[in-house]
Symmetry: C2
Subunit: 260 residues, 2 copies
DNA sequence: GAGTGGTCTAGACCACTGT
DNA sequence: CAGTGGTCTAGACCACTCC
């Protein structure tokens, strides 16, 4: 015998899936649903909790409970890396014409709000192991928030790490006011003679912590997708370690493997 | 002013992170926690709900609430595809010696319980588009559940689709009792003259539905990672479409991009 | 049977939104 | 201000585990 809240959730879920309730529609108020289903408020809210975790509904205090429209997933392909590579030789005008973010999102660059913060730091155990350097090696940490202009919360957070000894030859690379840099990180590295030869992406998902939930405007426990991208030169040296974080419903990543 | 349940969750979370409470430890009973924090049962359970969604704790009816040990993440690399490709030429003995699952999980094949079910079906809109064939084209659907022998729930569910017209030349490929097939899908396809040339993986995450939650023994809304793997021949023909599903905490996927 | 977590109720009050 | 969702309480009973 299923629990009451499960049956109520199943009923409302079914009404959404059968398009009886459409994206953007407001559900009846909780008090009305309590009367409809003849249960207590606690039980009804428990049912809505389930639907919220499943991302069928969205609750807005003071306004109501709404059927959630599936937001379009960004489709990001690893072909982007070769595309960025091919642009390294181009002049600034050509690089400036379109940015990498634009290529990914399909949004025009004007629709995106982009914030960058640079700071110097020291390699912790994790970064030291990944870069293959000593603990406390000087690091440039660059944090990027990208959001659609109409939305308050970012849809991707990127924390990128470079070795200071790689980039200090070009002071422009240490200046966050130069962002967004036309041509992206591969072009930035090319200005100090570094050519990226291969990139690995390690992808996993985990529930958002409370802080992350606040940051991305999702509920705690909502799935995040995390992609650690590591860039190597031809000699196997690590030149960039970047952690990309998205709310899981905003992203799909595609990779290509060519067999010999 | 944070909510009471938030402060209680933060407190217990802190006790776990500071190793005051260790993986496997039992938390005090709910009645004891209610007394400790001087709140009602509803509020206390709400706090535990948060920690459960964040995967800090696990609740077992009749036994107690336990600090969750982080289960090891499977590390699965796309290099596996080339490895499988290289094994296609080997004799059966060599292929049988180790299987692909074993390579991924690090578990010995004896530790894995493996169930396969084959069934004939017709291509729906999604599969027809991916294969580039007509709707209702005959399909062989192969479903694989892999689990550790000591665990009841599978840690990966694979639903693989092949075109019947590709595989009917070899009746052994239509027989689920031949599974697990030494050498995997690439070898299976090689027996009907098909050579896989490249593979794309599209990775995303989403919350589990109620049915999936039951299947994987996670709570509804827990994140799942889904990887749709599409295999192509040298002429660009699609020969396999496989959907791999893991509870998000069980998997990390690594891909490699080589730049020209 | 004792002890655990799971479900449910009825009612109170608070916080936010829009008129 | 009325109407919405958000938090909290005190208490009841049920389902499961282990002794």
């Amino acid at each position: 015998m299923a629990a009451k809240f499960d049956r109520i959730a199943a009923d409302i879920r079914h009404r959404i899936e059968s398009a009886d309730l459409k994206p953007g529609d407001r559900l009846p108020a909780e008090t009305a649903l309590v009367a409809d289903y003849n249960v207590s408020l606690g039980t009804l809210r428990r049912a809505l909790d389930v639907l919220e975790a499943e991302q069928f509904i969205e609750r807005v205090q003071g306004k109501g409970t709404f059927v959630r429209g599936r937001r379009a997933r960004l489709e990001r392909s690893a072909e982007r890396y070769q595309w960025e590579r091919d642009r390294v030789q181009l002049g600034e005008q050509d690089r400036r014409a379109t940015g990498a973010s634009e290529r990914d999102t399909g949004l025009r660059i004007d629709d995106l709000a982009f914030t960058a913060r640079y700071e110097r730091a020291e390699a912790d155990a994790d970064l030291a192991a990944t870069f293959g350097v000593e603990l406390a090696t000087p690091i440039l940490r660059r944090t990027y928030w990208t959001r659609a202009r109409e939305e308050a919360a970012p849809f991707v957070l990127v924390v990128s790490h470079l070795l200071v000894r790689h980039v200090e030859a070009n002071p422009l690379l240490m200046d966050e006011r130069r962002e967004p840099w036309p041509g992206g990180t591969q072009h930035q590295l090319s200005t100090v003679g570094i050519e990226v030869d291969r990139i690995t992406d390690r992808v996993f998902a985990r529930p958002a912590t409370v802080d992350e939930a606040r940051e991305f405007d999702v509920f705690p426990g909502a799935p995040l997708v995390i992609d650690r991208k590591v860039s190597y030169t031809g000699t196997g040296e690590v030149v960039e370690v970047a952690d990309n974080t998205w709310p899981a419903d905003r992203i799909a990543l595609t990779f290509h493997t060519y067999l010999k």
